[in-house]
């Protein structure tokens, strides 16, 4: 046991800025460092909340002049005429909600179907049956194929989310619009009385935008729904099979209801994503400030309005655009908060089980 004085000597020699040394009680420098580090982590964490507050405040602050000038009339009126200083974003709000809802319907139908496909392991079964016919199902390498294929499928669907939005817009412009134009114009000629088909598809419009938008939100919905379906306790599934239910009777009667909170949360988050989507819509929705129900007519969304108007906005127009941005922020924040809350309740429920 070294004497006290030599211990102090060793401590002084080794101390200083040496965070790696732990075989002595922490020196003052190290305690200070630890304290400072903890404070830093805390500050960075709090920064996230402050960031959201700053985001909202900055946009609201810049929107103030327009809010004072136009009040709530801004949200109700339909004319967007910067020269006559008449601003109204009702067509854009409608366009945002309309395109997102339609995309949600299509996207969640396909998304939940893909989630069911993934969680049931259909692909693995098909590959397994294939391997059985060539008697390779127990092979050390080939036998792993069902798992690999399942993983591949899961990754492919996640890859849909990796494609940048502007590339989807490019593809939609040059591939989708020419492709659907003949069919849409035929529908218009035959069923023009039906409000959904009441105009011709001259180019960009609601339908191409909805098409691409649903592709973009599908991975979100699939991933979250799949997680929800997979986290249903196996005993529920086994119990249902034990009682004699067919595969789909268990899915529809047991699994979907149990996972419904999670699936709903995924759908709400997909909706939130659709609301905020900018680039693909700016290129595909046609940028026409009109209120329309027709699938083939051009329309406009809040995000696309912002993307197109911001670069040209003069000093007078910036507050107005910030006001529109504030409306978009409010809508997406509400939807995202609801979605996050629903998912948290669903996760909590699953953990409690």
């Amino acid at each position: 046991m070294a004497s006290v004085s030599s211990q102090t000597q060793i401590r002084e020699e080794v101390a200083g800025w040496n965070p790696g040394q732990i075989w002595q009680p922490p020196t003052r420098a190290q305690r200070w460092y630890d304290n400072a580090f903890r404070r830093l982590c805390f500050i960075f964490a709090v920064f996230t909340i402050l960031l959201i507050a700053w985001l909202v405040l900055e946009i609201a602050f810049r929107a103030m002049p327009a809010f004072r000038q136009y009040g709530l009339n801004f949200i109700y009126s339909t004319t967007w005429d910067p020269n006559k200083a008449q601003y109204g974003i009702l067509p854009e709000i409608w366009g945002t909600l309309y395109t997102s809802l339609l995309a949600l319907v299509v996207g969640s139908a396909f998304g939940v179907a893909a989630a069911i496909f993934l969680s049931e392991g259909y692909l693995g079964e098909i590959v397994f049956k294939g391997l059985k016919t060539v008697k390779l199902q127990h092979h050390p390498i080939w036998g792993k194929l069902p798992e690999r294929f399942e993983l591949l499928l899961k990754n492919l669907i996640e890859l849909l989310a990796a494609v940048p939005s502007v590339v989807y817009g490019l593809w939609g412009l040059f591939v989708i619009i020419p492709m659907i134009r003949p069919a849409c114009n035929w529908l218009h000629e035959q069923f023009g009385w039906f409000p959904l088909f009441s105009t011709t598809l001259s180019g960009p419009g609601v339908l191409p935008a909805v098409f691409v938008l649903s592709i973009m939100i599908l991975p979100t919905i699939t991933a979250i729904s799949r997680d929800a379906l997979v986290s249903v306790p196996p005993k529920l599934r086994m119990a249902a099979y034990g009682l004699g239910a067919t595969r789909w009777e268990t899915i529809l009667g047991v699994l979907l209801p149990t996972a419904s909170r999670g699936i709903f949360g995924g759908i709400v988050l997909g909706f939130g994503r659709a609301l905020g989507e900018t680039m693909a819509l700016a290129m595909l929705v046609g940028n026409a400030n009109r209120l329309t129900v027709s699938l083939f007519s051009p329309a406009n969304t809040l995000a696309a309005l912002l993307a197109n108007s911001f670069p040209e906005a003069g000093a007078k127009d910036i507050p107005v655009l910030m006001y529109a941005a504030l409306v978009l922020l409010a809508i997406t924040l509400v939807v995202n908060i609801v979605g996050a809350l629903v998912l948290e309740r669903a996760a909590g429920k699953a953990e409690a089980k």
Binding site: G20, W80, N83, P178, S202, A288, N308, E312
Partner: protein, 339 residues
């Protein structure tokens, strides 16, 4: 552990040296933004100019006249370009003064996508009606009467207008307002009017792209765009009643009917001559009268000189109209005031 520490220090040092070295050589970077109307010509000028003078870089973004003027007033660019010149109240807002110089001229054509009717004739009533939304089908009598032999499709007219704040739109609406009083009252002269019809596209480039991909459409673009993409162009009826196609000769005749005043802002909204093409305009570059960076001012003067001499030779090939010589002398004189 020590090696990582050393590596970090060396990396920081390298970064510092990288930022420090490079003071050698007076390199001038000029940033411009504005009209899409003359963009192909300007971009060609700037590239050839930068190629001949390696220490000068000129960057131009085609964002539309409105956006260019706004950036110019915010002082985020060194120069701007606009077909709508600049409003007097905006010019007053720029401290130190603004110098507008017309650098080239061009004609606005009504290009369309009716491949079967390459020389579509549009009377004054017809083309004003199309853009006011009053004439909606190609088979309308106003159009058919001027084109008795043409095979006009029984389809709606897809009008394509600008989505952004545009000098081209300003000149076009100025002309339409001069032709038709109702248009002047309802829609008026504007960079971004509230068009009653039409899908919107960004820039002259956007309208051209939409014309190429949308059947049965018509839109207003600068002649060079239509020429390069081989779009059929409508032959318009001028004030004298003749149907004139846009050519360098007809555009020059139209420009000649207007006087160039001392402030170098001239409009030819409805030219009188019997061979004049009805829709022509000058297009301006906007400069500050005083630059803090003298090297920039000098580079800009040389750039203007280039545009007025060698640049004019390239304009016709790209579909623009060379400036009349008397205008060139006036512009050269005014350019000297930039310091």
């Amino acid at each position: 552990m020590k090696i990582k520490y050393l590596a970090r220090i060396l990396g920081a040092f390298a970064l510092l040296t990288l930022t420090a070295c490079g003071e050698k050589g007076e390199s001038v970077k000029l940033q411009g933004a504005g009209a899409s109307f003359p963009a192909p010509l300007y971009l060609k000028w700037f590239k050839s100019y930068s190629a001949s003078k390696p220490n000068v870089q000129v960057d131009y973004q085609s964002v539309g006249s409105g956006s260019g003027v706004k950036s110019f007033m915010d002082r985020t660019v060194d120069f701007a370009a606009s077909d709508a010149a600049m409003k007097p109240e905006d010019m007053a807002k720029v401290t130190g003064g603004v110098q507008l110089l017309p650098m080239t001229a061009g004609s606005i054509v009504l290009a369309h996508s009716l491949k079967d009717v390459p020389s579509l004739k549009l009377s004054r009533e017809a083309y004003v009606g199309i853009f006011s939304g009053k004439i909606t089908k190609w088979t309308d009598p106003a159009i058919a009467s001027a084109n008795p032999d043409a095979k006009l499709p029984d389809a709606p007219i897809n009008v394509i207008v600008r989505a952004d704040s545009s000098g081209t739109t300003f000149v076009f609406t100025k002309h339409l307002s001069a032709v038709n009083k109702d248009f002047a009252k309802d829609i008026g002269v504007n960079n971004m009017p509230n068009w009653p019809v039409g899908t919107r596209s960004k820039g002259n480039e956007g309208i051209t792209a939409s014309l190429l991909t949308t059947p049965g459409s018509i839109g207003y673009i600068e002649y060079g765009y239509a020429q390069s993409q081989k779009l059929p162009i409508a032959v318009l009826q001028n004030k004298a009643g003749n149907y004139v196609a846009p050519t360098t000769a007809s555009a020059t005749a139209a420009l000649a009917s207007g006087e160039m005043p001392a402030d170098l802002i001239a409009w030819v909204s409805d030219p009188e001559g019997k061979d004049a093409y009805p829709i022509v305009t000058y297009t301006w570059m906007l400069f500050y009268k005083k630059y803090d960076n003298k090297a920039k001012a000098k580079a800009l003067r040389e750039l203007i000189n280039y545009g007025l001499t060698d640049g004019q030779k390239e304009s016709e090939g790209l579909g623009y109209v060379p400036l009349p010589p008397e205008v060139v002398t006036k512009v050269k004189a005014a350019a000297e005031t930039i310091s």
